[in-house]
Amino acid sequence: MLEAKNITVRIGQKTLLDNVSVSFEPGKLNLIIGPNGAGKSTLIKVISQQLRKHEGEVFYNSENVHSLSERKMAQMRAVLSQNIDLAFPLKVWEVVMMGRYPHFVETPRQIDQQAVEEAMEFFNIIEMAERNYLTLSGGEKQRVHFARVLTQIWYPKEGHNRFLLLDEPLTFLDVKYQFQFMHKLQELLENKDLVVIGVVHDLNLAARFGDMICLLDKGQLLASGPKLEVLSEDNIRSVFQLEPILYRNRVKDTVHLFFE
Amino acid sequence: MLEPQPLASFFKHYEMKKLSIVLLASLITMGCGRFSNKDEKQANEQRIVCLAKQYNEIIFALGAEENLVAVDLSSTYPPEIKELPTVGYHRALSTEGILSTKPTIIIHDNNVGPEQVMQQMEKLEIPMKVFDAPGNDIPSTKDLITEMGAYFGKEEKAVAINAKIDKEMALAMENLKDYPSRPKVVIIHYGRASNIYLTMTSGSNAGKMIEWAGGEMAIDGERGMMQLSAEIIAKSNPDVILLTDFGYDRLNGMQEVKNLPGVSTTKAAQNNRIFRVEEHDMVYFGPRTGEIVMNLQELIHKNEGL
């Protein structure tokens, strides 16, 4: 369980988030959507604590983030963002191993190596383990980072949730990779202790794969809850100012969204 | 963040260093050959290493050079001294380098470095000798020669040298009557670096020699040498310019010297009164000082009235 309570973010005269309170459930794909400037990115940065200057509070497993050290946070929360590059050449497995850094002191233990290997198997990058990261394609790089981020929270911890935050990780990726990625996410969500919160720009993708949707507009929370409720014609029309056409499939629990 | 600034700063840093490297490289080429000189006095029982150019000239004048086994790089007079092994520049010495010449005594004038090297030699209790007389004017130089004569057991020779100095200085003063004019002189040492001239001042040893030679130093100053811009040289408008050997030889002949910025507009350049002098004649006093002063008298009054 992750809760954000009364989050307000101001930069100068501008209010980016205005008293937003929202909570996210484990085992579900929680997606934050909204038009440009709605505050999606700001909200995910507050949740990940990349942005620390805000009013209101964020709780991980009912613990206030202000009382957690960077390392403690890193042991249960992983963040995948877009377009990460390295300043120096490293091997692919060395990049993935970074995910284990919050867990060991100086040299990787057996269990860390196992996590790295399993994650690389899961993302089909095991055969490029020895390759130079800098020579990979964009899609391959993003898979490496997905593997890295997941090794960070590879093992469940009794009585605690694990948190995976996605800050527009699909930007600039091909449709093929986007779908591969979303399918992988769904596979991961079989772990019922995993809380996944993502910012996605593509509404169709959100409608197709999301479970819970959090709809922001002009820094305010417009609606949040199961996607079939949130993605109503009225909500979408008022936020995006376009006439939507929605195809709901209540049996498969999917929504397809088009605009006129 | 991977901007090229670090490179820029980096090279700027080396730009600064370039100057000193050029300086050093030239020192090395200047002394080239001297670094490979062989020690031909292996059998000597007394082995002297002397690290001061003024002392070295006096040692040769006294005829006490027999046991001199190595000298510093800037000791260049008399010409025979260039056949001795050198232990390098007198402010960049190394303990081992000096000790490898197996000295029984090291003579220096305190103008040596780096400091730690001198401390190391003190700790190893290597015998060192500094003479008392500072040798910074004629009487003190005579004292120095007397002192060194006593030290090397060449007292008679020392007396003779001092008599020669006195005689020649007296003669020089006498000759001054034939030179009523007092030309303004600038002495440029070391050529130039980006049109900045290292110039000897009235307070330097060379300044005193010019005074005795009946000239007037155009550049005043307490310190021996000053870095001066071309404008100041031009403004001082000397009648005579003297260039030391190293700077002069780097330029291709007189015409190029006359074209130097700051120099070209002076009376000296217009009247062909620019001359080459040896650095080791100008920077300290010694047995030849009277002789040198007389030569300078002739030099700085040459082409007068043209």
Binding site: Q49 | M1, Q5, S20, I21, T86, L93, R223
Partner: protein
């Protein structure tokens, strides 16, 4: 299961052996010929506390400390290079970037020019102290000026740019001092800026050695966060790195390493830049490996440079800064041309 661990032990061992061999040569060779028997007798006399003869004292008080200085100073400059390149996420950064060596040079120049005038005097320690203070002062200045007033955080870009500015300031200070200086003092400044190991003694070696080892051990504990920093500051924080603490510790280590080494041996350039570079070309950029490897390779490179500096013109001496530049510049340009790093 495949072991995902650094397979670099063999490399490190090879370099360790090479370093020992270089050290032995550096101990054996020099302007004065010293035989194996003399080395042996010196060591046994040292252990039994007997009186040594002159040759043995030369070995013990001059040669041995100097050979050790090559090892320690080389190691400390190369380790500092790794730290700075990792912190600034930039392979062409050298340890002097944040002002440490130019500050040290300024401190030393101040001593050379004002030494006689100043009342401040700590005997033979005055020069190292002045240099060390200068180096620390300039780095602290860079760090304080680079702080962002609103967030209290200093980004590496701000540090880098401030470093460049402060470097320029202190270097022109050095320039001004050598301009004002009398000729012999100016020469002292020039030669100090070219570095030499010839002044090494047991006390300076103990200080440099202890600082080098302690800093290396501390640095190894920060190899992980420095690796994480390769992905950027935000990503490093996501991996549990306390960025502010990391910056302060790495900069403190760099000041200790560079200021102390520079204080005793003068400015020696290129070692901190080229050594980590070479290792990256051979074996990638894992900072744990780079730190250990650079310590060894730095020691090897500086020992070899010092051998060249004392043998090429023996009995005269070539400043070691010239040797490292002569070797370093071509290597550096070759590296730049290879475009290995996607600048």
């Amino acid at each position: 299961m495949k072991a995902f661990n650094n397979q670099n032990k063999a490399w490190l061992m090879t370099m360790l052996v090479l370093m020992v061999v270089t050290f032995v040569f550096s101990m054996k060779l020099g302007a004065i010929t010293i035989t194996w028997e003399e080395i042996q007798s010196t060591l046994s006399k040292w252990m039994s506390g007997q009186e040594m003869n002159l040759q043995e004292r030369i070995f013990f008080q001059i040669r041995l400390p100097r050979a050790l200085a090559g090892v320690f100073v080389g190691a400390s400059l190369a380790v500092a290079g790794v730290l700075m390149q990792a912190l600034f996420r930039n392979p062409i950064v050298e340890p002097g970037l944040i002002g440490t060596s130019s500050g040290a040079a300024f401190g030393a120049s101040l001593y050379f020019v004002l030494g006689a005038v100043m009342e401040f005097n700590a005997g033979e320690w005055t020069l190292p102290l002045a240099a060390c203070l200068g180096g620390t002062l300039s780095t602290v200045l860079v760090f304080l000026l680079a702080q962002n007033r609103s967030s209290g955080k200093s980004s590496v870009v701000a540090l880098l740019l401030t470093g460049i500015a402060i470097n320029a300031l202190f270097l022109s200070g050095v320039g001004l001092l050598s301009y004002l200086a009398r000729d012999p003092q100016a020469r002292s400044i020039i030669f100090w800026n070219l570095g030499t190991l010839s002044g090494a003694n047991w006390i300076s070696i103990s200080i440099i050695g202890a600082i080098t080892l302690i800093c290396l051990l501390v640095a190894l504990r920060y190899a992980k966060p420095l690796n994480a920093l390769m992905m950027g500051e935000d990503e490093a924080v996501f991996l549990g790195v306390n960025l502010k603490k990391l910056q302060i510790i790495i900069i403190a280590l760099n000041v200790l390493l560079v200021a102390v080494a520079t204080a005793f041996v003068g400015v020696i350039s290129f070692v901190g830049l080229v050594v980590p570079h070479l290792l990256r070309l051979m074996k990638g950029s894992d900072n744990r490996f780079l730190l250990l490897g650079s310590a060894l390779l730095g020691a090897i490179m500086l020992s070899l440079s010092d051998l060249a500096s004392r043998l090429l013109l023996a009995p005269a001496e070539l400043p070691i800064g010239i040797v490292t530049s002569l070797v370093g510049v071509p290597v550096f340009i070759a590296l730049l041309r290879k475009k290995q790093y996607f600048f």
